[in-house]
């Protein structure tokens, strides 16, 4: 991450913003929601609180404009520059401008630019952050369409903004107005600079979902896969990375690797020879190679040969020796031939029939050093597939040096 020269910041925790005008591309309510959500991203990781005002001078004035609009940075028509914002300061300081010649959208599409994503980036500038050269970070200067459902800030963005403002207070009081529909305020509660006739204020809450402790004995996982020699453990939007080169477990978020992928995978597996990992969520799957998500995804899991009755899978693991991938659904499993790219005949079969000691649903699975590891709840089962023998049962987080 980077900051502006001399690292300007707001010298207060209560920062006001005002939306001066709107784009005809979106409903006004959608513009307001996109901007409120963008502010919420930053308030959730800092002590800052953002209050919207409807008249007068706010710290952060937000507007849509085309071409030359009165500052040094004229906009350039469709594409190119989408928006810009100024670092904290008086006057134009903190203000965010959006190029009205762009097509602004409520949801990420390939024909427009998502206002929430661009606003979140520009508000990073309004709070004092510069551009980051970390690919996948929100403050990366290039626009990147990504999944905005449950969107989380990249760790680099969090490091940057907390370097400027610190972490959220434990008991940060949210004002008397949780973010539901605005309700009338009693004048005694209204901020002094607002006359009672104006609309009541909306303040952003601060509550990021926290990552479970590494050594919590109850820790379970959504999915686990190997990836270029590492082991990635997924739960919600969080990733635990175990590398053969570092003893420490590294903590990341899914969006820091694959910004446009949904959090909360059901299953994942690596086909090492193809340097490819497949992720599964509900009835869709994605293929990635490193950072890059292969084109044409997501695809329906039926493409792999599942019957339509299968709506999601529990776990998947690729056998590097047989080049078969095993998919686990309930108490049954399928075998997929990666060479022929087709499901094998005679499946599904009962898991207990072929996997020694595994007689229950499988949450996650991976193969390492010739052994298979099947996870169920907070336990994992180490199985020698060649000898068809259950070797031992361990805690699911035994890989975390607990």
């Amino acid at each position: 991450y980077s900051t502006f020269p001399r690292s300007p910041t707001w010298k207060k925790e209560d920062v006001t913003y005002r939306i001066l005008n709107y784009t005809p591309d979106m409903l006004q309510a959608d513009v307001e929601e996109a901007i409120a959500k963008a502010f919420q991203l930053w308030s959730s990781v800092t002590p800052l609180r953002f209050t919207r005002v409807y008249s007068g001078q706010a710290d952060i004035m937000i507007s849509f404009a085309s071409g030359f609009h009165g500052d040094f940075y004229s906009f350039d028509g469709p594409g190119g520059t989408l928006a810009h914002a100024y670092p904290p300061g008086s006057g134009i300081g903190g203000d965010a401008h959006f190029d009205e010649d762009e097509n602004w959208t409520k949801f990420p599409t390939y024909s427009g630019y998502n206002l929430f994503l661009v606003a979140a980036h520009e508000l990073g500038h309004s709070l004092g952050l510069g551009h980051s050269n970390v690919f996948g970070a929100l403050m990366y200067p290039i626009y990147m369409a990504r999944d905005i459902r449950d969107y989380q800030l990249h760790q680099d963005d969090i490091n940057g903004i907390q370097a400027l403002y610190g972490s959220p207070r434990e008991s940060s009081p949210t004002k008397a107005f949780p973010p539901q529909e605005p309700t009338e305020m009693t004048p005694a509660e209204a901020p002094t600079e607002m006359s009672p006739q104006e609309k009541p204020t909306r303040t952003t809450p601060s509550k990021p979902p926290s990552r479970p402790e590494d050594c919590d004995p109850r820790l379970t996982f959504d999915a686990i896969t190997t990836l270029r020699g590492e082991i990635l453990f997924f739960k919600g939007s969080y990733v635990w990375r175990k590398s053969p080169y570092f003893s420490e477990i590294e903590h990341d978020t899914i969006s820091s690797f694959w910004p446009s992928l949904i959090a909360g995978f059901d299953a994942a597996y690596e086909v090492d020879k193809k340097d490819r990992v497949l992720f599964f969520k509900d009835d869709q799957y994605w293929a990635v190679s490193g950072y890059t998500i292969d084109t044409g995804f997501p695809k329906p899991i039926q493409n792999l040969g599942f019957p339509t009755s299968v709506r999601k899978i529990d776990a998947a693991v690729h056998d590097q020796n047989t080049k078969k991938t095993y998919f686990f659904v309930g108490n049954k499993y399928w075998s997929f031939n990666e060479n022929t790219q087709s499901m094998e005949r005679g499946y599904p079969r009962k898991i207990s029939a072929d996997f020694q000691g595994i007689g229950h649903k499988v949450d996650a699975a991976f193969q390492k050093n010739g052994y298979f590891y099947f996870f169920h709840g907070s336990n994992q089962y180490e199985v020698d597939m060649k000898k068809q023998k259950l070797i031992r049962i361990m805690k699911a987080n035994s890989w975390f040096n607990c």
């Binding site: 502006f4 594409g79 520059t81 810009h84 551009h131």
Partner: protein, 80 residues
Amino acid sequence: FPVLPENENEDTQFAKKYLENFYDFKEEKNSLFKSKNLNHMADKIREMQSFFGLEVTGELNHKTLDMMKQARCGIPDIRS
């Protein structure tokens, strides 16, 4: 030397504008030595390539131009 092509085509003009906007490139309009300007621009291209993790060549190659043409924020990446 990573030398830019003599005839300033459209891409070069675009790149120059990009580097002026986002990498603090200032062309010395009345410099007698054209090669000095070219070298200065190549330096800035290198800076931009390094920022985006591209191969640092100083040349306005295809990948560099592609990156320059992507939609982006109007705030400079590098400030003097």
